[in-house]
């Protein structure tokens, strides 16, 4: 199950039962980290993935300096005909888009949107899910049961539908996409944290702390929680890849279904891909470049995430 990159939330949540590295044991954590790092840099696939990720992040940050033109300037609109849109040329490496804008510049700026949506939505999902999981894990009993049934329901509703409705409720904006990508992450993190907290509660040190009269609040805050966060952080950093991919895919889906970002001038890969559906016969390059951008970025995250998962898995250390 560990090799699954775009794991369904349920599986990821279930793997929470794996006790992660013990963060208190600094020496062990250090050597695990160093060992994992050594394994990653010796894995050619991981290096390729890492390079793709670094390039992606750099492009996102330095977009204004890298882009040859303003991504919103429709300077070349006079060259656009309903039956022909100029493809790649020496002046415009990726050709022009349907609005007479430079496609390469739009792809470069598009990296920003994908990275931002991915990071923000993951953070929101992790925080909200973490709080819910903490409540379930700390109280147990009927509160735990109730919270877990609610996450069951959230998992039973298809993610895209959830995204659709969020976008429909709060209107067409980038915020809608961020929330839409964040929401499916909530039950995932909630189950992850709750799972490892329940596992931790069974341990001897908790029983002994409880038996010497440590209050429940201190027990949860000082003992159980710090020992339960590690697996969530590990999984969380791996889930970033999924979040960035989902950001592009959900944005694509939403704009395809007419609920995308309100401002079509803002370049965003998913939207660029879907907006050209009707032009597929006229200008296939308009589908090709954003599609490849998403594919390569996703591939980079998957290659690296895969290697990291293997490197951090104590079962595979031989």
């Amino acid at each position: 199950m560990r090799l699954l990159t775009r794991a369904s939330s349920k599986e990821l949540a279930d793997s929470a039962a794996d006790p992660g590295p013990n963060p208190r044991d600094d020496k062990a954590a250090n050597s695990l980290g160093r060992e994992a790092w050594r394994r990653i840099i010796h894995n050619p696939l991981a290096v390729v993935g890492g390079v793709i990720i670094i390039v992606f992040v750099l492009v996102a940050i330095f977009a204004p300096w890298l882009a040859p033109y303003d991504p919103r300037a429709n300077t070349w609109f006079d060259q656009i005909r309903p039956t022909s849109i100029p493809g790649p040329s020496s002046e415009h490496w990726f050709g022009l888009d349907a609005g007479g804008r430079d496609e390469l510049s739009r792809i470069i700026y598009g990296a920003r949107a994908s990275l931002m949506i991915g990071v923000l939505s993951l953070t929101i999902g992790a925080i909200v899910g973490g709080i819910i999981g903490l409540i379930a894990g700390a109280f147990g009993g009927w509160i735990d049961g109730l919270v877990m049934r609610i996450t069951d329901i959230m998992l039973a509703v298809p993610g895209l539908l959830l995204a659709l409705s969020v976008a429909a409720v709060i209107g067409q904006s980038q915020t809608a996409i961020i929330i839409a990508v964040a929401v499916p992450n909530v039950p995932l993190f909630a189950r992850l944290l709750r799972g490892s907290m329940l596992g931790e509660r069974q341990k001897d040190y908790v029983t002994s702390a409880y038996s010497v009269g440590v209050s429940r609040r201190v027990l949860v805050r000082r003992h159980i929680l710090p020992n339960s966060v590690a697996p969530m952080l590990v999984q969380g950093s791996l889930a970033l890849s999924t979040a960035v991919i989902d950001a592009a895919i959900d944005a694509a889906a939403l704009s395809f279904l007419g609920l995308g970002s309100a401002d079509p001038g803002v370049p965003e890969w998913g939207r660029m891909l879907t907006d050209t559906t009707r032009l597929l016969n006229v200008a296939p390059h308009l589908a090709f470049f954003p599609g490849m951008a998403i594919l390569i970025t996703a591939l980079g995250f998957n290659l690296f995430g895969e290697a990291a998962r293997e490197a951090l898995d104590p079962k595979l250390r031989r």
């Binding site: 775009r6 509703v157 659709l164 998913g270 891909l273 599609g291 998403i294």
Partner: protein, 334 residues
């Protein structure tokens, strides 16, 4: 076993209640009501009030909910506002289309994914293995939407090899009995319709099946690799069993559990509506039904459709759990 199944089915009731409440609030939180969406440009307050009255949207929320639920218990999901047809009829018409597409996609995914993963594990660290790992990684990275467009462009627009929209050619007349085109054309003994249905299925099924294929192949590879290292496999080989016997009886059977899990999960996901694939290929399934309903604020369709899909999802997961017991006798005991 029976007790386990019954208990799981009973658990459906609270889940459905929860979903129904959430859905009820959620659809009403969508901006603009069904009346506005229906009337569009022609909307004015009187006509909106009129439509709301017809469908009972002017009553207090709690009353609306109880009226709705008392009908749902009798399996009456009300009438679609946009399509003016019974929601249950619409689901009956659309769900088979989704089943057909999901089934074809899963046949593609399992038929290629399991052998690919298996061979990849058997030839670990060879060119074949690296190639298949790379291919499956690309498979999980490719956006469905992009793949659908490439397929459509290459096979339909450029070379006109396969149809890329709808489920059947408009010129072909087929009596709808089960709404599964393949079954219907067999019932009518209509070879042309059967062949045409298959041709229409190919592109959407490949588009939809590629991600599950990649995931299944990866899980199969990982699971088989783990099993290959087990002692009993070495023992089986050592006592001189034929490789094919070892593979079939010892390796594949013991690797099956995670593979079945992932197949089940993926089937559930596919059945619960492939909005994008269905929209790209104009496939009249559940995904496009609900997607359009959200845009048109068609409350009864969203509520009925999502609840129906949730039941399907839970049932598929239950089926997977039952399959565990069939595959692994140890689970039956505990």
């Amino acid at each position: 076993m029976i007790r386990f199944i019954v208990r799981r089915l009973l658990l459906l009731i609270p889940i459905l209640f929860g979903i129904s409440i959430l859905l009820f609030i959620w659809v009403r939180a969508l901006p603009g009501g069904p009346a506005t969406a229906l009337l569009g440009e022609r909307s004015n307050p009187e006509r909106i009030a009129e439509i709301n009255k017809t469908y009972g949207f002017d009553k207090p929320l709690l009353t609306q909910y109880f009226t709705y639920m008392s009908k749902v218990i009798r399996l009456d999901f009300g009438q679609s506002i946009q399509l003016r047809r019974d929601v249950s009829d619409e689901i009956f018409r659309r769900f088979p289309a989704t089943v057909e597409l999901a089934g074809a996609a899963m046949i593609f995914a399992v038929g290629i994914g399991v052998p690919l993963g298996f061979m990849s594990a058997k030839r670990e660290r060879t060119v074949f293995d690296y190639g298949s790992v790379a291919a499956t990684l690309i498979g999980v990275s490719i956006p469905v939407f992009f793949l659908a467009q490439i397929l459509k462009y290459v096979f339909s627009l450029q070379f006109s090899l396969l149809p890329s929209t709808r489920r059947l050619d408009v010129k072909i007349d087929l009596e709808k009995v089960t709404n599964l085109n393949l079954v219907d054309s067999l019932l009518a003994w209509n070879g042309a319709a059967f062949w045409d249905s298959i041709r229409h299925l190919i592109l959407p099924a490949i588009a939809l099946g590629t991600i599950p294929l990649a995931i299944i192949a990866r899980i199969t590879r990982a699971s088989v690799l783990e099993t290959l290292n087990d002692d009993y496999v070495r023992t089986a080989r050592a006592k001189g069993l034929r490789t094919s016997t070892v593979n079939r009886v010892h390796v594949l059977r013991n690797s099956l559990l995670p593979i079945v899990t992932v197949i089940g999960l993926q089937t559930g996901l596919l059945l619960s509506g492939a909005v994008l694939t269905e929209t790209v290929f104009a496939w009249d399934g559940m995904g496009s039904l609900i997607g359009n309903a959200v845009i048109g604020k068609d409350y009864p369709v969203i509520q009925g459709g999502v609840m129906f899909l949730a039941v399907v999802f839970v049932l598929v997961n239950l089926f997977v759990d039952v399959m565990y017991a069939v595959i692994d006798p140890r689970i039956r005991v505990s």
